[in-house]
């Protein structure tokens, strides 16, 4: 049907692909390059930047600070925030894998008519507002919340345990936010699993544990890899969860970046931090693609 939209194939492709590619190219890719450029500009005196004045100050600032004598002194504050973000994102990934893998396996073992419903139940939380979902965890984790009431009722503790504004709360919130990204890809690779393979393993003398580690897990590996990267990337750049559940002492990269555009008014530094985060994410994506897949957005 496309022949009618112009005899020239190139013109036709241009017209059809043009709008989407223009929007993403002009309002996303161009801004990303601009952001990289801003990161090497001199900081403006009252916020903003000074055009034409190039400096690597923003990147130096990441590791050093200047003392009164203008000497560079190592400052690990920012490195510590990056370290915390990595630890939280990695922990989130591990916990999501530990609980997501059995869940996906359970779903794949159900009869076909149940499976669609279960997938639907897993996706619903993902489509609901991230802010609202994290807010719900405030209700659960605060001193008078349901979790603490439960602990007291069970007699495990007499006084409410401090849960909110701890790394634990951030971990719970991050896992909750991104768990569907782990379950769905693993499910997708396990759904195709031919159960006769498991049966063959039993016939050949394997016990359940062996069948699981030698047959099921290797077949789930592409899903595990995809799920891990899909959880790790958004967890690393999280802003809402640490902001709401972590309080001021559990800053992550996202909060540090936001701060540079709010109170700190240091745009080059904020741009540099965002650029570093982007570079980390793109590198991990590349590694994943090289190892497990040919191109993004396929299948």
């Amino acid at each position: 049907m496309l022949e009618g939209l112009g005899r020239n194939r190139f013109l036709r492709r241009g017209l059809l692909l043009g709008p989407a590619l223009f929007v993403i190219g002009f309002f996303m890719i161009l801004p990303l390059f601009l952001m990289a450029y801003v990161s090497i500009l001199e900081r403006g005196l009252a916020g903003g930047v000074q055009w034409g004045q190039h400096t690597l100050e923003a990147y130096v600032r990441f590791l050093f600070e200047r003392d009164l004598m203008d000497n560079l002194v190592v400052n690990i504050d920012y490195l510590r925030i990056f370290g915390r973000s990595f630890a939280l994102a990695f922990g989130t990934m591990i916990v999501a894998l530990a609980i997501g893998l059995p869940t996906a396996f359970y779903m794949a073992l159900q009869p076909a008519r149940w499976r669609n419903l279960l997938i639907f139940l897993v996706t619903i939380p993902f489509w609901t507002n991230l802010l609202v979902r994290n807010y719900a965890w405030i209700l659960l984790l605060r001193d008078s919340g349901l979790v603490n009431s439960g602990l007291i009722w069970l007699g495990l503790t007499d006084e409410p345990v401090r849960l909110l504004y701890t790394p634990f709360a951030v971990g719970v919130g991050l896992t909750y936010s991104f768990l569907p990204f782990m379950i769905l890809p693993i499910y997708a690779s396990l759904e195709k699993l031919d159960l006769r393979l498991v049966e063959a393993a039993y016939d050949l003398g394997a016990n359940k544990w062996k069948a699981l580690t030698r047959i099921v897990l290797p077949l789930a590996l592409p899903g595990i890899a995809a799920g891990s990267i899909l959880v790790f990337i958004p967890a690393l750049g999280a802003y809402v969860t640490p902001e709401l559940l972590g309080g001021s002492r559990q800053l992550m990269i996202g909060n540090l970046i936001q701060g540079q555009f709010g109170a700190a008014r240091n745009w080059p530094f904020g741009a540099a931090l965002a650029f570093v985060l982007l570079a980390i994410v793109l590198c991990s994506m590349m590694l994943y693609l090289l190892r497990f897949r040919r191109a993004p957005g396929q299948g």
Binding site: I24, L179, G237, F261
Partner: protein
């Protein structure tokens, strides 16, 4: 393939209980939030009785209503533009083949890969530098970018699943390309368009970080307003407005899911 779910050999210890706990974990916060929104108590800490009052308070709050109106304006504009560009791009990508198609797919998926906070920073800097005043317009543009992949993926999937012989048959029966599109392709593609548009709409309603960065003073959307409320403290109003947002999203996803299941 063998029938699933029947043979005890395929039951592994711990799998079913873990799945049960995970589903409880996924839904507990949602149920608790909705339950709290009906709590009569002003302090929102203890349960004293059932009431619909807080919903009334929310619906009569002019600031919340203004934010909700902004959200709807942004979501409908962004959905319209994202869906339209996704439809034509999907047609080109599935009915034509050329070098660089993988690259186009990668670009279309880019908004999903780049962390939201990075997109937010880049978009803010871009608007400020080109001198565009922050307001509803900047939010709509930023949301359109973000919504394109969500509209594109279901539409492309539907187009790929279509039988190409139907379009060929229409052409054999002397339908011109436009007529083929209108009478054959579009009716078959319709469920894909609707489900893509609905997903784009929900994503736009929910997107917070990007909006927070590029919304000027007058363009507060509902999530940005709720964020401000949460920072002040836990109130019954926050519970009610959050529960409303949850219910709207769930209703939309359910609809999109049902439409997506329409037989091909």
């Amino acid at each position: 393939m063998l029938k699933r779910g029947s043979n005890p050999l395929w039951r592994f210890p711990g799998v079913a209980p873990t799945a049960l706990i995970v589903f409880a974990y996924l839904y507990l916060p949602i149920f608790i939030l909705i339950a709290y929104s009906f709590n009569e108590n002003r302090l929102a800490t203890i349960w004293t009785g059932f009431t619909f009052d807080w919903y009334g308070v929310v619906l009569n709050n002019p600031d919340i209503m203004r934010a909700a109106r902004n959200s709807l304006i942004v979501a409908s504009s962004a959905t319209f533009m994202a869906t339209l560009s996704a439809i034509i791009a999907g047609l080109c990508m599935t009915r034509d083949s050329f070098r660089g198609q993988q690259g186009v797919n990668a670009i279309m998926a880019l908004p999903l890969i780049v962390p939201e906070i990075v997109t937010a920073v880049a978009t803010l800097l871009f608007f400020v530098i080109i001198g565009m005043k922050l307001g509803l317009m900047t939010v709509i543009i930023a949301h359109t970018v973000f919504c394109i992949p969500f509209a594109y993926l279901p539409i492309r999937a539907r187009l790929q699943g279509m039988d190409p012989r139907l379009e060929e048959a229409a052409a054999d029966l002397y339908a011109d390309p436009w007529r083929t599109f209108r009478r054959v392709t579009l009716p078959l593609l319709w469920p894909g368009i609707l489900s893509g548009a609905m997903l784009a709409f929900i994503i736009s309603l929910d997107t917070f970080v990007i909006t927070y960065f590029v919304a000027g003073a007058g363009a507060t959307t509902l999530p940005v307003y709720i964020f401000g409320m949460i920072r002040i403290g836990i109130t019954p109003e926050v519970n009610a407005v959050s529960a409303l947002m949850l219910l709207v999203s769930i209703a939309f996803v359910t609809l999109s899911f049902l439409i997506g299941r329409i037989q091909r």
